[in-house]
Symmetry: C2
Subunit: 260 residues, 2 copies
């Protein structure tokens, strides 16, 4: 089942995505309080960021080739993580599918996409075993972890490198029925495929992360965990259109514009 | 004026703190929608975390002596920040004054307090000048940035070192009338003063941070910025009681217990 967040006359409501339409409703499907009230056309619906997390987690370095490529850019030796230390991103940076990624006027040419699987937490959890961990996932969506590499390597934290306004496209919706091992992530730049990889070919999978995190942290419904990306990336320029497709979930598409 | 968040029969409401009582009300003083509806005794009120931020910012290394001391613990050369790169903490870790800090069973003895000034954002801001920046602050509260130093130095991120459940006491309330240069931060452990420092003796002050951050990030009402701490710290043990007092704001007090 697919759940979107939709603008209904200025109000954000959850809706169940059907073939050509969206059933809109009141309440929250993540906490099980949603009921259908109306319907709109899918083609003309204004999709919003599909969930507004209390805490926005990001795995960061979770695919081997990506770690090697980022080390090359930074001029350092690759340091493959030995355990799932989670990182953080911030809600100010979230935008929906179809909204523009704004390249800051002072960003360098090393302005890049990262196509990522996003796990959306469905219920409160602490001390969750790896065997039970996927039961705590409501569903999956797609993220584009836009990164300015010069800032990423030069600043003390990832604050502006990864959390500048508009740097976190997420969507288009949440898919609840997913076979993780069957997924392929494909990134297209202006319609041209630039990378395609097995989504679940991670250093540490969703279950391992949830179990490790919940040893110390309580996870809450609506929290999101961005699972990292594979390989290297090309640079994004104003005028580009970047799409992240994950098979059986959907496609997240955003244009790039220059800061006014 | 002092604003607290209070448990009123299971519901979290904002209240205006008076000498011996709290005026409780509906709405939000940060966005200017609050109106008084009832009153309760201050002494018996259950104070909650005074604001639940959308984004939880933390300056981290913002006092020279603290940077030097942390480098000593990590066995590295001190690296005094040259610009205000902001970091992040997470809401799962927030607890109110009076609630216990839980020391994890596998934490090392390097389990320490950090007394911090917290700026609470009062209005939405982007591209805020340093001269105007303090107009964007609703008020100030107090934070205790509990840190497990072995994890802080050994993990790839600060996730469990600083964001384990209960590691972020914040409160007791928000004070809106503050002269930053007149403030003193004092930390007491079991009633004994362990450090006292001029709160505003920062590498980068509140206005500098807000201006620098808002070049890239939109700040929202209720966002919090923890401003860092000074000096070194002693280790906390189960059974300890740790207080952070900032003059003219108040005192944040929390006991330490062992994980069950």
């Amino acid at each position: 089942m697919r759940w979107a967040r939709v603008d209904r006359g200025g109000q954000a409501v959850f809706g169940q995505v059907l073939a050509d339409s969206i059933l809109l409703g009141d309440g929250d499907p993540i906490t099980g309080t949603w009921t259908a009230t109306s319907e709109c056309e899918l083609a003309t619906a204004k999709l919003l960021v599909p969930v507004w997390p209390q805490t926005f987690y990001a795995a960061g370095f979770n695919y081997a080739d990506h770690v090697i490529e980022q080390a090359r850019i930074a001029g350092t030796a690759p340091n493959i993580p030995e355990k799932p230390d989670i990182g953080y991103r911030a809600n100010n940076a979230l935008i929906a599918t179809g909204e523009p990624i704004v390249k800051p006027a002072d960003a360098t040419e090393l302005f890049q996409y990262e196509g990522e699987l996003v796990a959306v937490i469905g219920r409160r959890g602490k001390h969750v075993s790896e065997a039970e961990a996927l039961d705590y996932v409501f569903g999956y969506t797609i993220g584009n972890d836009i990164s300015e590499r010069t800032w990423q390597n030069g600043d003390r934290t990832f604050w502006r490198a990864k959390n500048t306004d508009s740097f976190k496209p997420m969507g288009p919706w949440i898919e609840t029925d997913v076979d993780l091992d069957a997924l392929t992530t494909t990134v297209r730049l202006n319609g041209r495929e630039v990378i395609s990889f097995a989504t679940n070919h991670m250093l540490f999978g969703v279950a391992r992360y949830i179990s490790a995190m919940s040893r110390y942290l309580t996870l809450y419904p609506g929290d999101v965990i961005w699972m990292g990306t594979e390989g290297d990336a090309e640079n994004l320029q104003p005028g580009d259109f970047c799409e992240i497709e994950i098979s059986s979930i959907g496609t997240l598409g955003n244009s790039v514009i220059a800061e006014a």
